[in-house]
């Protein structure tokens, strides 16, 4: 049994225009110490999945089907109190630091200590703070910055602080939602390398959410490509990268520049993803797909298996 299992998960938002099916029948699993990248464009449902894993869906969002189990425990059956105890201790999150993930009027060290103290109410404050010192050393932050406020940190330092915060309670799983998106490429690379080595050191499972397939390829063992609320291709990094099968995955790879290899023109994906309100028969990528046949519009595509780990949701991908 995998550490984290997501089985046929569906999530919908109540909106003024109707029920929006943000996530539709998504399944994946994550072993301890492994990492899975969820890749897709804005609105494909990747962040919604991350929030559902933390039990933090917005008020109008609801899991409409499927299940999530963490270490054999059914997360969807948890009470609010149980969720509160489980969050951060079992499953933590690395937020995008540029997005104000840190409280601007509280010292950074205090905010990390707060996470420790919340889950260890008996622990003396001084001990929590000394643990925070350890975390700072781990992520390469100077100790004298413990008592600083978030605005005194650079973007990269904030990101390190957010990572330190995620590690504070030794979680089994970390959900990293676009953790390096706002950083310049050099800092981005440093942070990614450090995240990778920390993951190995502590044997943490990571769900890495990003719109940038190249970042995910660098950090993750497995990739799940998402489109319009569905997982459309999943497999090991090597499989998805070098033997991409789904037309969307191929289009996605074609729209990113490669550093090595022959120079080629980038090809944008024309059109927009469908609106996720109401019935969507057939394949969702159909309207933008270069290889779609007539049947795609009528019948939902079937999963095809290409190896032990490589699955593709498409009828026309040979």
């Amino acid at each position: 049994m995998a550490l984290l299992e997501v089985h046929n998960l569906s999530i919908a938002y109540r909106t003024k225009r109707g029920l929006l099916q943000a996530v539709d029948n998504v399944s994946f699993s994550l072993e301890q110490g492994r990492s899975l990248g969820l890749v897709g464009e804005s609105g494909c449902g990747k962040t919604t999945i991350g929030m559902a894993l933390m039990g933090l869906l917005p008020r109008n969002g609801r899991v409409t089907g499927g299940g999530i189990t963490l270490a054999g425990r059914d997360l969807l059956a948890l009470t609010r109190q149980q969720w509160r105890e489980l969050r951060w201790r079992e499953i933590a999150m690395i937020f995008q630091a540029a997005m104000n993930a840190l409280n601007p009027v509280q010292r950074v060290g205090e905010q990390i200590a707060e996470a420790i103290l919340t889950h260890n109410p008996q622990m003396p404050r001084a001990q929590a703070l000394s643990q925070v010192e350890g975390l700072y050393q781990l992520v390469g932050l100077p100790l004298e910055r413990l008592r600083d406020y978030p605005h005194q940190y650079s973007g990269g330092m904030k990101q390190r602080a957010v990572i330190a915060m995620a590690l504070a309670c030794n979680p089994k799983v970390i959900v990293a939602d676009e953790p390096t998106t706002a950083l310049d490429v050099i800092v981005q690379d440093q942070i990614l390398q450090e995240t990778k080595s920390l993951q190995k050191e502590f044997n943490i499972g990571i769900i890495f959410i990003s719109h940038d397939i190249s970042i995910v390829a660098e950090v993750c063992h497995h990739i799940g490509i998402m489109y319009a609320g569905q997982m459309v291709e999943t497999g090991s990094v090597a499989e998805v990268f070098s033997q991409a099968r789904h037309p969307y995955t191929r289009a996605l790879l074609g729209s990113f520049p490669a550093l090595g290899g022959a120079r080629r023109r980038l090809s944008p994906i024309a059109g927009e993803p469908p609106r996720l309100i109401g019935q969507l028969p057939g394949c969702r990528f159909c309207a933008r797909c270069p290889v779609s046949g007539h049947s795609c519009k009528l019948e939902p595509p079937q999963w095809r298996q290409f190896s032990d780990s490589h699955f593709v949701l498409c009828d026309h991908c040979e």
Partner: protein
């Protein structure tokens, strides 16, 4: 910080100079003749002219202005026409009463308004929120003298629970057996109605500002972080949302102070509270120029310094602000 405060004090001096000048012009433009009040009609014209010369009112206006500035810098505000006492003495007798009433009412309405605003935002759209918001809107738009009169009529006259005017009752203060405690209670008893009137007029604006600020704060990402860390809702509200939400409220407290002063004058007048606001209204209606000028000036100074205090407080509560 010290540099900033010194700079601000310099600004305050400049603004005070402008206010003093405007006051000088305003009072010269005002209708009514101060001499006619001071001077007995039975005096002969020579005697009246003598008096005018003594007061310096026969000099050219420029010279009067310079003299006025000089006196002001020396802290000499002249004599009240009405009381025949130094203006300073009149003001010092009334000021503590105003500070007592006004600061109690303001602290109360700010504290209550902020905490109710916090709760209203937290319970957005539910019964508590609707009740509090409607109450804030209604009380905020009430006409203060009307409210004060209704209170006097209901609690003072119909029910007879509370005194309707003044600050002390003679029978308590003249009774040699009553101690300090009895006297304090007596003042408190007189304070209830004017304080509640001021409170009702002012808590609403704090509540509304805090509510909207809090609603905005609750959408911030660090609130999601706090929730993700497993904090209780109470800790999220009080340790993460509220300390960010009350920053704009501090500013609004400082700004509204200036506007609440006229409410204070009205309240003091309706309840005959012997404070500086009531004195100001009386001084204006009696053409008591020196007293009115000094009261205006005092109010301006209070507002200016209150705003300075607010700015310093802001830096204390928001680490991003450093001067």
């Amino acid at each position: 910080m010290a540099r900033y405060v010194i700079g601000r004090l310099g600004q305050i001096v400049v603004i005070l100079f402008l206010i003093v000048t405007i006051l000088f012009v305003l009072f010269r433009l005002a209708p009514g003749d101060p001499i006619s009040r001071m001077v007995d009609p039975s005096l002969s014209p020579e005697e009246a002219a003598n008096l005018i010369a003594q007061l310096g009112l026969d000099k050219p206006i420029g010279q009067q202005y310079l003299q006025y500035l000089k006196n002001f810098v020396a802290g000499n505000f002249g004599y009240s026409f009405h009381y025949g006492l130094p203006v300073w003495q009149v003001i010092m007798a009334k000021l503590p009463n105003t500070i007592l009433l006004f600061s109690t009412a303001m602290v109360l309405s700010a504290l209550v308004g902020i905490s109710w605003g916090k709760i209203a935002a937290w319970k957005k759209g539910r019964g508590t929120d609707i009740l509090l918001t409607v109450a804030a809107l209604v009380t905020h738009t009430l006409f203060l003298p009307w409210l004060a009169l209704i209170f006097i009529w209901v609690f003072g006259y119909k029910l007879g629970w509370l005194p309707i005017n003044g600050m002390i009752s003679a029978e308590v203060w003249l009774d040699p057996t009553s101690g300090l405690w009895d006297k304090a209670l007596d003042v408190l008893y007189h304070m209830v109605l004017p304080m509640i009137t001021l409170f009702i007029m002012h808590f609403g604006s704090y509540l509304l500002v805090m509510r909207s600020s809090m609603l905005q704060t609750l959408r911030e990402d660090y609130i999601i972080t706090a929730r993700a860390k497993g904090l209780s809702e109470r800790a999220i509200r009080n340790h993460h949302a509220a300390p960010n939400a009350w920053l704009p409220v501090i500013t609004s407290v400082g700004l509204s102070l200036a506007f609440s002063i006229n409410g204070g004058a009205l309240t003091e007048t309706v309840f005959s509270w012997p404070g500086i606001g009531r004195e100001l209204v009386l001084a204006v209606s009696q053409n008591d120029y020196p007293l009115a000028q000094a009261s205006f000036l005092l109010i301006a100074m209070v507002v200016l310094f209150a705003n300075l205090v607010v700015d310093v407080l802001y830096a204390y509560f928001d680490p991003r602000i450093r001067y």
